[in-house]
């Protein structure tokens, strides 16, 4: 499903964010990516949907060779991936509902279906009442949940979430996690970067630990680690 072979990433300013990363994630897996701040988790994630390009190495996601993709194939590839961005990346000029609907509009679904799915997903993340508000009128956690809703709405085959519970209280965090587990049960691959020790330790899923750009640990039924 997701395959990285000897991937290196050095940013334009010379910062080396990833070194010699090789990982293979199978369809339907649930993988936590953990590591200290600045370790390279987001970089690792951004490579998968081609927000960043690797300096070296090759990446395959759901049959797409990310590095060999023709320009026109990029959007097609991205529609198979639901991304929760660390900085939300909501469209400030659109309401909550429109933001979520956008992921469906790009695949030209009928307006009725859009309406139905959007209502459903907003219900799931507990934002039905905020449907017609703009992102700047929401609290941090509410914005984060809009991001989650947008990633889920078009039922992608992979969900990549970068710190999706950073601004959520434990209760909301758990309910988002339950959501992810439900879609994972239906076969969706999930890759989630997180700092939430409680969640990682409770879930007993595969854990990828990145430190200073290298994969230091790749453990089935792993723990957060780094006890202090």
């Amino acid at each position: 499903m997701i395959e990285m072979q000897d991937v290196w990433k050095e940013y334009a300013n010379g910062v080396s964010a990833l070194s010699a990363v090789s990982v293979s994630i199978k369809q339907g897996e649930f993988v936590y990516v953990v590591g200290p701040s600045g370790a390279g988790k987001s970089t690792f994630i951004k490579l998968m949907y081609r927000e960043e390009r690797p300096t070296r190495g090759s990446i395959f996601v759901g049959g797409f060779n990310i590095e060999r993709l023709r320009e026109r194939q990029i959007p097609v590839m991205r529609r198979h991936i639901g991304v929760v961005f660390q900085d939300y990346k909501l469209l400030q000029k659109m309401t909550v509902a429109e933001n979520v609907a956008f992921a469906l509009e790009v695949i030209e679904v009928s307006r009725r279906t859009i309406h139905k799915r959007v209502t459903e997903v907003l219900e799931l993340v507990g934002l039905s009442e905020k449907a017609h508000m703009f992102p700047r009128q929401l609290s941090g956690g509410e914005q984060q949940r809009v991001g989650v809703a947008r990633a889920l709405v078009n039922k992608p085959s992979v969900i990549i979430a970068d710190e999706p519970t950073g601004n959520l209280d434990p209760e909301n965090s758990w309910s988002i996690l339950k959501l992810f587990e439900r879609v994972n049960d239906r076969g969706t691959t999930i890759v989630m970067a997180t700092h939430n020790r409680e969640i990682v330790n409770a879930a007993k899923k595969r854990v990828l630990a990145i430190e200073a750009g290298r994969i230091m640990r790749d453990q089935e039924r792993g723990e957060y680690g780094y006890e202090d």
């Binding site: 026109r72 959007p75 991205r78 990346k89 469209l91 992921a103 790009v106 030209e108």
Partner: protein, 292 residues
Amino acid sequence: MKIRTIGRHTREGFKNLFRNGWMTFAAVSAVAVTLFILGGAMILSLNVQNISVNIESQLQVNAYVSSSYPQKHLSTLEASLRSLPGVRSVSFISKDQALKKMEKLLQSNADLLNGIGNPLPDEFVLQAKDPHQTAMIANEVRLTPGIDKVQYGQSVIGKLFTVTTAIRDAAVVFIIALLVMGIFLISNTIKITIFTRRREIEIMKLVGATDGFIRGPFFVEGTLMGLFGAVLPLAALYVLYRWLVQSVPLFPPFSLLPWASVLDKVVITLIACGVFIGIWGSVISMRKFLRV
């Protein structure tokens, strides 16, 4: 692209106009003012050109009939002059009329002319279809039997053409330069507004939108902004120009063209600049933000 997507782009385009409120206003007004200047300059240019043409068209050839030419054949002579290629009009001034003019010229001393009879010849006044052919026609007229002498302001005609040609060339250069600068200003404004929305565009791309899908609403928005930005100055120019034509007292060769004869050029240029540069500017400047 499905029909519903076209509908969606149209809706989004309209929505964006309102949601970007202040920015839309700033962009449309910048386009409108630029096009107002461009349109005004075009109207000015067209009129200056027209006046310079009017001045040229006042050029004429004076052909003096030889005193030995039989009076009764004058109409034959007139006909033969009229049939010369390139001649637009021929009019006749009899020696009597010419004398009256002369007397007027001499005023109180005119009585001095009494007693010597009329020394002046009959005269034909010709105008060329193309004022630049005046000299050529004058030469042909000179060869016509019955014509004794030809005058056409030889000494100034060269200078006159230099000036009128210079004015017309200047007007064309001026309008082309303004057009180029106007296009630059409009596309620059559009670029800046697109620039402020680069994050938006990048996010759309990251969420799986194709370039075309992202461009859709911008296309609608650009068209509407360009249209507003062109229609407003057109309306203003129309009102202003009508007022000018009515209330400024001018006389030939200084006259204003009727609105109808500047209309087509101005309307086409303004709408084209507004709409096409608007769309083109946004498509071009969007390109770099679509590379995500």
